[in-house]
């Protein structure tokens, strides 16, 4: 326990330089604005800001990205409350009681209570991350190549089987991601794979893929649907953002329950903030004495989902930093960032790069504090920034993507490649093909192949190694269980849908 706190304090000290604090503040502010813009969520926010980290040291780079990641979680709620337009998927629930509060003239209160809930949820999730991560890391440190392989396969299978509406679509995206991830020179055998241009010898960088899919793809979607926000000028007084002690007491338990739900759901692969917010809302509605208030401006209906959403950030980082398993598009991008900074994601991450991981967690903690303060006193500034950026969003994102892809290794080939992935991203969005599994497999493809090779070498070519080692076998059973659950779940959904149609 003391050791954990000492490590965390070490991370805090690394972050306590004026440069790193400024970077976190900048990331938090940018993240809040990006999170509030329609179509741009955490994945897009991270994708757009990664180019700025290319020349930074890992600590500063991760500080910036943690600020952005947490900021997008705070930002989504602003437009939900002000104009009933969620900035990202988890903020959909925020509209349900946030906007009615705004209509009742209590918009300042709604923004204040949601900011405090977000902060407490984030704090809870980070606390769980701080205390759980080292314990899990100690448990998995003795894993060998077969266990690593099965763990990565588990991450990939859960997101492929549970993400989106169609398992087959998710599987298609997973295998496409794999093919993209395998492009380039195979450094073990020396053979080249699908190198149709000399620039592809080193493979396709995941940054190019995510900037294209989340940046260009989203812009084209916004251009097609002519998405525009009609934000008025907020007329709130500063004291309106601060709830009274009585109001805070009323929402304290919903915040706590939301935080717990968000953290647990965040830890589960492929679940994430959206499911957490819906579950937290449903729980509060069920527990409420008068559930008819929900949807008409119940503060609990706002506080619990907001806490759940931000708590899911800390939860989602637990499997990422301890086992190298990302559970969502956002954490898959962070996994890619770890690799970009020369870290080796997986059970050894906390041992080999413990100082950077603790600094990252400290960065998340500091960003959470900055975001609470800024979201309580700077709402008018955010609204004005959103209004200005939103007017020219498409052209600004396209420019940033082009410049960012060039900054990767000063090659214009990457910029062209990004444009192609942008078109692909637009098409996948059009056909509701989930992007999370693709990003995850692009990032994991080479590690997965490498651990598979090492496992077979250990067993002199026998596939039985995956069945004879107890941990590996247990993970295999979990994968099979997930597959069975996915099939049964889909069948139930189909039956419900059919029953609904028949009832109509």
């Amino acid at each position: 326990m003391v050791e954990i706190l000492v490590d965390f304090w070490g991370g805090c000290l690394q972050m306590m330089t004026p440069y790193n604090l400024l970077i976190i503040l900048l990331g938090s502010l940018v993240g809040t604005v990006v999170g509030a813009l329609p179509g741009l969520g955490p994945s897009a926010g991270l994708a757009l800001m990664i180019p700025m980290t290319f020349t930074m040291n890992p600590t500063a780079g991760l500080a910036l990205l943690m600020g952005v990641y947490m900021g997008t979680m705070f930002g989504g709620r602003i437009t939900s409350i002000l104009i009933n337009t969620p900035g990202d998927a988890p903020a959909i629930v925020t509209c349900m009681d946030g906007y009615p509060l705004m209509c009742q003239g209590r918009g300042g209160f709604a923004l204040g209570i949601s900011a405090i809930s977000s902060f407490l949820g984030g704090f809870f999730g980070i606390a769980v991350l701080i205390f759980m991560a080292p314990t899990i890391a100690d448990l998995v440190i003795s894993f060998g190549a077969p266990e690593y392989f099965m763990l990565l396969l588990l991450g990939l299978c859960t997101i492929a089987l549970l993400a989106g509406d169609s398992v087959m679509k998710a599987l298609l995206m997973t295998v496409i991601g794999f093919i993209i991830g395998l492009v380039g020179c195979d450094f073990v055998s020396g053979y080249t794979r699908f190198c149709y241009a000399p620039e592809l010898l080193e493979g396709i960088d995941f940054v190019v893929v995510i900037m294209g899919m989340y940046g260009i793809g989203e812009v084209l979607h916004n251009v097609e649907h002519n998405v525009h926000l009609d934000l008025g000028k907020p007329n709130f007084k500063l004291r309106e953002y601060f709830p009274t002690r009585k109001e805070l007491k009323e929402v304290s338990m919903p915040m706590l329950r939301g935080s717990l739900i968000g953290t647990v759901i965040g830890i589960l692969p492929a679940a994430g903030g959206t499911i957490a917010t819906f579950l937290a809302y449903a729980t509060e509605k069920k527990l409420a004495k008068d559930s008819s208030r929900f949807g008409k401006g119940a503060p609990e209906g706002l506080a619990a989902p907001e806490a759940a959403n931000n708590a899911s950030v800390g939860g989602a980082l637990v499997p990422l930093v301890t086992m190298g398993i990302p559970g969502s598009g956002g954490t898959a991008i962070l996994l890619g960032v770890f690799i970009m900074f020369g870290m080796r994601p997986g059970p050894l991450l906390m041992v080999e790069s413990g100082d950077i991981v603790w600094a990252m967690i400290a960065g998340l903690f500091i960003a959470n504090i900055f975001l609470l303060v800024s979201n309580l006193v700077m709402i008018p500034v955010f609204v004005n920034a959103i209004r200005i950026v939103e007017k020219h969003l498409s052209v600004l994102v396209l420019t940033l993507c082009c410049v960012g892809a060039y900054a990767l290794n000063y090659s214009f080939f990457n910029v062209w490649l990004m444009l192609i992935f942008g078109l692909f991203g637009y098409v996948t969005k059009k056909f509701k093909l989930p992007t999370g599994p693709l990003i995850l497999s692009v990032v994991l493809a080479s590690s997965l192949e490498s651990y598979f090779r090492q496992s077979l070498m250990l067993s002199k070519g026998s596939y039985m190694i995956f069945l004879t080692r107890p941990v590996s076998l247990a993970i295999l059973f979990i994968i099979l269980g997930t597959a069975v659950f996915s099939v049964v779940n889909n069948q139930i959904k189909k039956k419900k849908k059919a029953a609904g149609k028949a009832a109509k």
Binding site: F194, E224, L400, Y406, K430, E449
Partner: protein, 146 residues
């Protein structure tokens, strides 16, 4: 009936089929472990199988996806302008190309006043230069001819 979705799936399967000969030509195994062609072959095969299954599923339950006709010219304009931007970034200079691109899109495509277009274009270009070139030390050419 041909739909955009079905055409996309056929195209994907076709691309995977065209890549298949290369995967088949790579060694599938090396001593005691897999070779460089093992996973590519499986993944390409899986892509084709997934596309076929999705096509069959689509025959039963059609995916409804269309592009808004009135948005097509604007989208094409954006794509072509971005393509031109990338070309000009390489041959004319990054910052100058970015400035002209932003001004043109805001003024000609989005139909905002020229002063707004000029302001946004100048501010963004200066910010990009300051952040990437001065702060992050990424080489950013202003104009290749001067």
């Amino acid at each position: 009936m041909i739909t955009l979705y079905r055409a996309f799936l056929v195209l994907l399967a076709l691309v995977a089929s065209l890549m298949m000969p290369e995967a088949l030509g790579l060694p599938k195994d090396s001593q005691y472990t897999i070779g460089p062609g093992f996973l590519p072959l499986i993944m390409l095969g899986a892509t084709i199988v997934c596309c076929v299954i999705l096509l069959l599923l689509d025959l039963k339950d059609k995916t409804d996806a269309t592009v808004k006709k009135e948005s097509i010219p604007k989208m094409l304009l954006y794509i072509m302008a971005t393509g031109l931007l990338i070309f000009c970034m390489e041959h004319v200079g990054i910052i100058l190309s970015v400035a002209v691109y932003i001004f043109s899109i805001i003024f000609f495509v989005e139909k905002h006043p020229p002063l707004t277009a000029l302001k946004v274009s100048l501010i963004t270009s200066v910010l990009i230069y300051a952040i990437f070139h001065i702060w992050l030390k990424v080489p950013m050419t202003i104009c290749n001819f001067f």
